[in-house]
């Protein structure tokens, strides 16, 4: 009877639950929740009406659309291409494989401003890629397409690094079994391999997407930052900060926070749904 108050905690044989949970909550509060709640507090100072006005200006709306839209497209491209890169790195032996493997991490390691400048130089109408592209009428630098390119670039490692270990662990016998049952290579991939790596690829997608939404450094160089056209939401926040409009800046930050949260929750739900059977299989 005396233990009723602690019933939410399942008895575990591993000690240290109280200590580790306490530390986890403290740490999360200090590092994540405190700054985020400060955003809300700061925003609340400007009042509901002003808030609504700031976050629904056409310029703000356009920036959300660009930030989330380009991030989604970039994450999706990485979902496909990153899976392919992981596949090549796991499945084939070739010279230079280790080199390619480390190149994958470059977008992580590179200062984002460097990435931005490099991409801008490449894709400007005088650049190596930009020149031939512009001659066929495709303009990348200083357009929305440029934003997508930058976000695809910085999101690449996520899908590769989440899918790679899962592919490595995938039992070769599964493919042999599928082949012996008459499945073609493509059928084996679509029906056996893909379902196994899908949850991991989705995690990579979510990470790449989150990174894209928050990305600033690499985008501002290539985007050109024209309000209503190529201005990303993080830049709008910085612009407002430079104008000492702290309330306005945090208002947009709050909107981005909520939108990101909702989208990550949705991706999480999708993952849970697709991973449900995997979880069963884990037993």
């Amino acid at each position: 009877m005396t233990r009723v108050s602690w019933q939410f905690r399942k008895r575990s044989i591993i000690p240290g639950f109280g200590l580790t949970l306490g530390f986890t909550i403290f740490y999360l509060s200090l590092i994540v929740l405190l700054p985020l709640s400060a955003t809300f507090v700061q925003t609340s100072k400007i009042g509901w009406q002003h808030f609504w006005h700031v976050v629904t200006t056409p310029r703000a709306l356009a920036s959300y659309e660009l930030s989330f839209g380009a991030s989604l497209i970039g994450a999706f491209l990485n979902f496909v291409l990153g899976t392919m890169v992981a596949w090549v790195l796991v499945r084939y032996q070739f010279t230079g494989k280790r080199l390619i493997d480390s190149i994958v991490d470059l977008p992580f390691a590179l200062p984002t401003a460097v990435a931005g400048i490099a991409l801008t130089t490449l894709y400007a109408t005088t650049g190596w890629f930009g020149h031939p592209l512009s001659s066929i009428g495709v303009h990348v630098a200083f357009t929305r397409l440029g934003v997508i390119v930058a976000l695809t670039f910085i999101g690449l490692p996520f899908v590769v690094r989440t899918v790679q270990p899962v592919l490595e662990d995938l039992d070769k016998e599964l493919e042999e079994a599928a082949a012996s049952l008459g499945a073609s290579r493509w059928q084996t991939f679509a029906r056996v391999i893909y379902p196994a790596i899908f949850p991991a690829a989705l995690t990579g997608f979510a990470l790449a997407f989150s990174r894209g939404v928050g990305e600033y450094g690499s985008v501002i160089f290539i985007a050109g930052n024209m309000p209503m056209r190529t201005e990303i939401a993080p830049l709008l926040i910085v612009t407002k900060l430079e104008e000492y409009d702290y309330g306005g800046a945090t208002a947009i930050a709050v909107v981005m926070l909520l939108l990101s949260f909702v989208m990550l929750l949705a991706i999480n739900a999708l993952q849970r749904w697709s991973g449900r059977r995997e979880a069963l299989a884990g037993g």
């Binding site: 039992d171 016998e173 599964l174 042999e176 079994a177 599928a178 082949a179 012996s180 049952l181 008459g182 499945a183 073609s184 059928q187 029906r191 056996v192 379902p195 196994a196 059977r277 995997e278 069963l280 299989a281 884990g282 037993g283």
Partner: protein
């Protein structure tokens, strides 16, 4: 469909996994490839399946050379030691897989697939588990699902790689009897790999004993057990006592020193007595008596210090009223002699 293997060789780096192996599996038979690990038995099975390419030699199904065909074209049913079930699919979907991936022209209707899978699930006695996932089944059930999945495509031959290797002893025993019964019912030409001699002798029509990349002997379980062709086969199929011996006038005498002849005697082919019985008797002292079980296992040491294992009946033990440390006299009844080289 009969399987013919001719001159198959395979090297892995510097290790010769198979060295010019020939094997004939007649139509409808259940053949065991028996051998210790590293003897090449799994490699041979995988070459028959097309999962591995040999360096030399050919594989024929019904006399037709299929060496150049892929696994997919060979239409073999393959059962893996660790089941290799598709974890994200239910039992039903696993079994239906081979039917669903057929090209549209030859793919059965959804109705027909349901019927066929239903029949197979009845055959493996898992009709009520169709909606479960592999992780919700026991090891024995998983392996039965793997078998049903392989049979669903009506394979030309069924190949099983240590099918019971990952199961515990009791389930193994149950499942191998079940496999024998299933084979009698389905009748598809089957080859299974095992390192367990009891399993091979109990289940198979024919046993091919393999050692170091070669087949040492092929025969019925009776033949290989009672008339082993080589010392290795004798040694591998059951416990054996090894002596030096001398053959005089057709009588084998067990002696202490090396003679150029090795004498193999099974533990149950030795008699124990309290008194010396004829000339060909060796004196020994009992070390341990394990009386639990249908046979009594006596461990003794000969007068020159070599260990001997003897199996006698419970009744004989009572007659002898044998105790640990007693002096006994051992007489061989049935021996096999091989030149020592």
């Amino acid at each position: 469909m009969s399987i013919t293997v001719r001159g198959i060789s395979k090297r892995f780096a510097r290790f010769a996994a198979l060295d010019s192996v020939d094997l004939d599996v007649p139509h409808g038979r259940l053949v065991a490839l028996l051998g210790p690990s590293g003897s090449g038995k799994t490699t041979l099975l995988r070459i028959i399946a097309g999962l591995e390419t040999p360096d030399a030699g050919s594989v024929h199904f019904d006399g037709r050379d299929i060496s150049d065909q892929t696994t997919r074209e060979r239409r073999v049913g393959f059962v893996f030691q660790h089941y290799a079930l598709f974890r994200h699919m239910t039992v039903f979907e696993n079994v239906a897989f081979g039917l669903r991936v057929r090209p549209r022209g030859t793919r059965p209707s959804a109705q027909r697939i349901r019927e066929r899978v239903g029949e197979l699930l009845e055959l493996i006695q898992l009709g009520s588990q169709a909606g479960r996932y592999p992780s919700q089944l026991s090891g024995g059930q998983r392996q039965r699902v793997a078998l049903a999945r392989a049979l669903a495509v009506e394979p030309s031959v069924l190949l099983l790689d240590e099918p019971f290797g990952a199961l515990d002893a009791k389930v193994r025993l149950e499942l191998r009897r079940w496999l024998r019964a299933l084979h009698d019912e389905v009748g598809v030409t089957s080859v299974f790999v095992t390192h367990d001699q009891d399993e091979a002798l109990e289940v198979a029509d024919q046993v091919a004993v393999m050692n170091a990349g070669r087949i040492e002997q092929v025969g019925t379980p009776d033949e290989v057990y009672h008339h082993p062709a080589t010392p290795f086969v004798y040694n591998f199929l059951g416990n054996v006592n090894l002596f030096h011996g001398r053959v005089d006038d057709g009588v084998t005498r067990l002696v202490r020193e090396a003679t150029g002849h090795l004498v193999f005697i099974r533990p149950h082919a030795l008699d124990l007595a309290r008194q010396p019985n004829g000339a060909n008797t060796i004196r020994a002292v009992t070390k341990h008596i394990h009386a639990a079980g249908p046979v009594v296992k006596v461990e003794a040491v000969t007068e020159w210090g070599a260990p001997v294992h003897v199996e006698i009946g419970q009744e004989r033990l009572r007659e002898l009223s044998l105790q640990k440390g007693d002096e006994i006299f051992i007489t061989p009844r049935d021996v096999a002699v091989f030149a020592d080289d």
